[in-house]
């Protein structure tokens, strides 16, 4: 059976171009980028080129790009690093949203334990926060505003440029977790007034274990990783040269085709959404339709639980995901779905389908062919479903 992978918000396949770009740095050019010899210099040059590629994709300066192990590290570093410095200036308030990734939420919770106060902005039922909410929450002692660029579960894109402008006006630092947006949305850290931005490689066809943090020139934050002089002394640890090269290749490939991708995938996504809502009774789309990531569809089906749905889809060759508690290892359904006001029993029955360049119309046809039957089968078994 052909496998249809539609869980690209979880991770993506390493593209052939990225793979080919990385191979030399695993084999022949394996030097340590800090070494003085030819092998080391070749690695250092490759890191430099990748830094330029990442900077270009964000309209940043290469000196503002710092490689990390991924989105989680970048989020931790940005939030804890800024707060540790600003606490000394008496700032001990953070503004974020209720539906951030756990890397952000749990970093904020850690800071709460050391005396920070955190405002979790509520999210509208269609999955957005407004710049006005941020403006109203900013205080004298606000150290940082951190709002995700696009939500990882429901794909809603936040008004980042507006929020950025307000933060700039009020003199508050602004961080955004752009892990899901990168490669799907054109990002300009200057136009959007972003001070810090987290990104991860494996969401855009680079390998797992590589990411970056953009830090606007002049912003000083405490180190998270103490060590050697790598990353200009701000992030210790031998550079993950193959990963860095892969990220550089992936991000420049994504930037080169971002409009074409958005157009093609949003057509596929819209056909999926429209058909599911028309053909499956008591189905709902989670998250507003606009602005929404071109690759994200998130549904809830009343009367069924998400894990069963995923298992049945998997048996039919479809790899998707759910915000159901049963897939997370906890008993609570996704905090994102509860943040947009879904009752628990509806949140349990969610299905997230996320596309990439590698998906085809045929994948959508196939999902539309199998999904209604699977939902019906599970509903037939469900004591809470009434025809």
């Amino acid at each position: 059976m052909k496998q249809r992978y539609v869980d690209n918000a979880a991770t993506t396949r390493v593209s052939d171009r990225v793979f080919n770009a990385m191979v030399p740095f695993l084999k022949e050019t394996y030097g340590n980028a800090s070494s003085i010899h030819a092998a080391g210099r070749a690695a250092a040059l490759a890191v430099m080129e990748a830094r330029r590629q990442v900077a270009q994709a964000l309209n940043a300066d290469p000196q503002e790009i710092f490689f990390t192990s991924g989105g989680t590290e970048s989020d931790n570093w940005a939030i804890k690093g800024v707060c540790a410095r600003l606490l000394k200036k008496g700032k001990k308030h953070i503004i974020t949203t209720a539906f951030e990734h756990h890397a952000v939420l749990h970093s904020c919770e850690t800071l709460e334990k050391s005396g920070f106060e955190v405002t979790y902005l509520p999210v509208s039922p269609d999955g957005y926060v407004t710049a006005q909410q941020v403006a109203d929450a900013i205080r004298e002692d606000t150290a940082l505003v951190t709002v995700m660029y696009a939500n990882n579960e429901i794909g809603t894109i936040q008004p980042i440029a507006e929020i950025g402008r307000i933060c700039r006006e009020k003199g508050v630092l602004f961080h955004t977790d752009a892990v899901q947006a990168i490669g799907n949305v054109k990002i300009d850290v200057n136009a959007d007034c972003i001070d810090l931005l987290s990104l991860s490689g494996h969401k855009l066809h680079a390998p797992k274990g590589i990411g970056a943090l953009y830090i606007r020139k002049g912003i000083v934050l405490q180190n998270l990783m103490d060590g050697g002089a790598q990353e200009r002394g701000r992030r210790g640890g031998t550079e993950n040269v193959p990963g860095i090269v892969g990220l550089g290749q992936a991000i420049s490939d994504a930037a080169a085709q971002i409009e074409e991708k958005a157009e093609r995938l949003s057509k596929m996504r819209d056909r999926l959404i429209d058909t599911v809502l028309a053909e499956i009774p008591k189905a709902r789309l989670n998250g507003g339709r606009k602005p929404r990531l071109c690759m994200n569809a998130n549904f809830s089906f009343e009367g069924i639980e998400g894990e069963g749905l995923l298992l049945k889809l998997d048996m039919a060759g479809v790899c998707a995901s759910s915000g159901s508690a049963c897939t997370s290892g906890s008993l609570d359904p996704s905090h994102v779905l509860t943040a947009i006001g879904l009752p628990h029993e509806i949140a349990h029955g969610s299905l997230r389908i996320t596309l990439s360049e590698e998906n085809t119309e045929d994948d959508i046809d196939y999902i539309l062919e199998v999904l209604p039957g699977i939902v019906a089968q599970l509903r037939m078994m469900s004591p809470v479903w009434q025809e």
Binding site: E305, C326, P333, H344, E345, M381, P383, V384
Partner: protein, 144 residues
């Protein structure tokens, strides 16, 4: 987190036994709640203290469906005295194990059976508590 199910769990999930309702059931039990993501409803027919037929409906994950299905197989055709001794561990064992986070599903299956039996006794004007015991809410559902 990884969620590896045994072949038996997958078999009972993919081909659940005894799904449905019994319109003329002698006892019906329902446990769990939609809030925590699992509801099991069990229907039993009883003749001469033997479970002659059983059906279930479950809202829940793969493990919840598989444990319900296995539980129905384990009690069908069995005398009540034996059914009362059925533990959640026996259901887990019959399924060749469950991931630790799914053990509460098997607890729910045991409770669903007991709840159906309690209903059976209640319908006959017999206080079920001395026979079936207290049926507590699934503790897993109270995890904050």
């Amino acid at each position: 987190m990884s969620m590896l199910y045994s072949e038996k769990v997958m078999d009972h999930f993919a081909n659940p036994r005894n799904v449905g309702e019994l319109p003329d059931a002698d006892g019906v039990g329902e446990v769990g709640n939609a809030k925590c993501g699992d509801i099991m409803k069990m229907y039993i027919k009883v003749q001469d203290d033997v479970i002659t037929d059983v059906r279930f409906k479950t809202f829940g994950c793969g493990a919840a469906i598989a444990t319900s299905s296995m539980a129905t197989e384990l009690i069908k055709g069995k005398p009540i005295s034996e059914v009362l001794k059925l533990t959640n561990e026996a259901v887990v064992e019959a399924l060749d194990g469950l991931p630790p986070v799914k053990i509460h599903c098997s607890v729910l299956a045991e409770q669903a059976i007991k709840s159906a039996l309690a209903d059976y006794y209640r319908r006959r004007g017999i206080d079920p508590t001395p026979i079936v015991g207290e049926i507590n809410d699934c503790e897993a559902c109270h995890v904050e």
